[in-house]
């Protein structure tokens, strides 16, 4: 075991993947010698050469198009989009190409080896264009997997699983936690199964569900609730597509209450999908309406970030409201 922050854990996973298979390539804007604007690919070009870890021109649609071609060819591309806010020029390549490559060809061709890594989320005073959580645009796209880790240990295991998975993965990294989140991480290779949620702490009164950086606020709120005698079951969804409805439904069947929290705006957010699926599965077990604690339906603000964020206090209030319904 070693102490790593989330960036180190990502870098370590990439290093392991590149050492194991020389078809693994890491590329994107400023990814090469500079090691990425967050330094997640630091040292990889020195170690594996310019052909395997390199800068690309500044074109997100080009990066993902190029990555799709590489994956179809048999390489293992790990493409970085510098900020999730800038993934939209590549939206067509991801939605119409990556996601449909296998299906439309009858499995003659596929881009299953592709991983798209991208830092997402707020909390860094990044304003409108360095803060977004666009995961729900992708969860509506069959053919890709969507993964979001919450800490260094999860990040390494989920990233290695994503690289080795035979399906394309969009891997959202919580940039607020890149250096802030530090923990014990095994130095050797390991994988955390995709499509499987984790019960982070067991409880009996209410289920709290989230993913990525939001788990920090959820765990804080859970601690506050514990102090006033409310027992929360905390679940990290980890993979949003395809998502582990069974683990969530089992928990809600037990607690009778569900609060879902994400950074992205409320309307059209993935919490809506979860809420619908869990009401279908757990209708007769519910003691209170399923609640969502999310970002406001505005662009991500700058100076009012603190007010905007679905923080621990907002989740704490939702817990009390749910229990006292």
């Amino acid at each position: 075991m070693a102490q790593m922050n989330l960036l180190h854990a990502i870098n370590n996973a990439l290093d392991i993947a590149m050492a194991k298979n020389d078809k693994v390539l890491c590329f994107g804007e400023d990814v090469g010698h500079f090691g990425g604007v967050f330094r997640s690919t630091s040292g990889l070009q020195e170690k594996y050469g310019k052909a395997r870890c390199f800068n690309t021109p500044l074109t997100e649609q080009g990066i993902i198009g190029f990555a799709n071609g590489l994956a179809a060819q048999g390489s293992v591309p790990i493409a970085e989009i510098q900020f999730a806010d800038y993934i939209f020029p590549a939206f067509d390549q991801i939605v119409n190409e990556t996601a449909k490559f296998r299906y439309r060809s009858g499995n003659e061709f596929n881009v299953g080896s592709l991983v798209i890594r991208t830092p997402y989320g707020g909390g860094i005073a990044g304003g409108l264009y360095h803060s977004q959580s666009p995961e729900a645009y992708f969860t509506g796209t069959p053919g890709i997997k969507v993964v979001v880790p919450r800490n260094p240990h999860q990040a390494k295991g989920l990233l290695l699983a994503s690289i080795n998975d035979d399906n394309p993965v969009v891997f959202f990294e919580p940039k607020r936690l890149y250096r802030a989140s530090i923990g014990e991480v095994p130095e050797e290779a390991y994988e955390i199964e995709l499509g499987k949620a984790e019960v982070v702490s067991v409880g009996s009164d209410v289920t709290l569900l989230g993913w990525g950086a939001q788990m920090e606020y959820i765990e804080q709120a859970s601690e506050m609730a514990k102090e006033i005698g409310i027992s929360c079951e905390v679940i990290d969804l980890r993979t949003l597509l395809p998502w582990d409805v069974d683990t969530v439904a089992e928990s809600v069947t037990k607690t009778g209450r569900l609060i879902i929290s994400h950074e992205a705006p409320l309307t059209g957010g993935f919490a809506g999908e979860i809420s619908a699926a869990i009401s279908e599965r757990c209708f007769l077990h519910l003691e209170s309406p399923i609640a969502r604690v999310c970002g406001l339906d505005t662009p991500y603000p700058l100076i009012q970030e603190k007010e905007y964020v679905a923080d621990h206090l907002k989740i704490f209030e939702a817990i009390k409201a749910s229990v006292n319904f």
Binding site: K23, L25, A51, R52, F54, T56, P57, T59, Q61, G62, I64, G65, F66, A67, N68, G69, L70, A71, A72, Q73, G74, S75, P77, P89, D92, Q93, N96, E97, K100, R102, Y103, R104, S105, G106, N107, E108, F109, N110, G112, P142, G143, K145, D166, N167, G195, P242, V245
Partner: protein, 393 residues
Amino acid sequence: MNKPENNAGNSIHQATFIGGHALNIPTLRVLNDDGVMIDGAQMPNIDQTLAQRIYDTMVYTRVLDERMVGAQRQGRVSFYMTCKGEEASIIGSAAGLSDDDMIMAQYREHAAIRYRGFTSENFMNQLFSNSKDLGKGRQMPIHYGSKALNYMTISSPLATQIPQASGYAYGQKLQGLDAITMCYFGEGAASEGDFHAGLNMAAVLNAPTIFYCRNNGYAISTSTDEQYAGDGIAPRGVGYGIETIRVDGNDCLAVLLATQTARQHALAHNKPVLIEAMSYRLGAHSTSDDPSGYRSKEEEELWAKIDGVLRFKAWIEAQGWWSQAQDDALYEKYREEVLSALKVAEKVAPPTLGELVTDVYSDVPKHLKQQLGDLRQHIVKYPDHYPAAKESH
């Protein structure tokens, strides 16, 4: 790298702009309009066997297109697109490749997959979306693809294959393969962002790709006058630092020469090449289109006179490699072959209902199994409404 001394090194002192049409790129021609060799023209590498294979593919493509437009009019297939007018361009370029080269096409290049050996059965199974279609009946007619033939399955969105071709070629280079990637697209698709992204990436990252622009004059109804203001697509290659040539797309020998040379260059230097083939879409955009709404018969006739199939035929006849009797026999043979394959394929059963949910992922995930199960139960209740009810459950 930008360097301060560069500013002084190559400088002007009057505000003199380079004209938007200053690069007046010439057109490579080997055959004249009548299919006669131009004196002093460089010959591609071609012998009788290759020439006959090229012409054979031209005839096949004409026959297939004629038959399938008819089949669409009869309501037997929903949709079709012809290659008419561009056969010399497509087949001449495909013939300049090695079978190991990947072809990533737009949609009007079925002559190229035919050149590689796609059979009448393969074509018909795709066109009729039946259970023998390699694409499992999932895409509209003409979206062919074959792993065995190194022909990437067509996708409808335009230009998406261009940056993909750069990536594919980069992978070929890294793995030391003796192969390049051929990327076809139209002059309309060259207005998409993916064109610029793809060419720039191939140039900067040294990917052995041939970018082959089929400039056929029209993007559906939009003529080149409304598509771009400059001297076509070729100057853009120069702008990206890519070796570029313009070629008469109705001159099969010129196209073959350009492609053979481009391939050697791409492979030897790990660099992309841009070829712009000037041709004309003699047919409609698709069976859903009617060109009489946007262009004249007179214009079409001018291009029909310099049709690439006629010019190539004149040339191989002059070589003593082809006769009218052989021509008649070949048309007859393919008309029968295509029609009989059509009759077989339209009776082949559609893919099973289960194929609705395969290949979304490498394995069918739990939620899709559930959704398929629910669908089956629903279909059982209304068997008359759903064709797939015939399938045994």
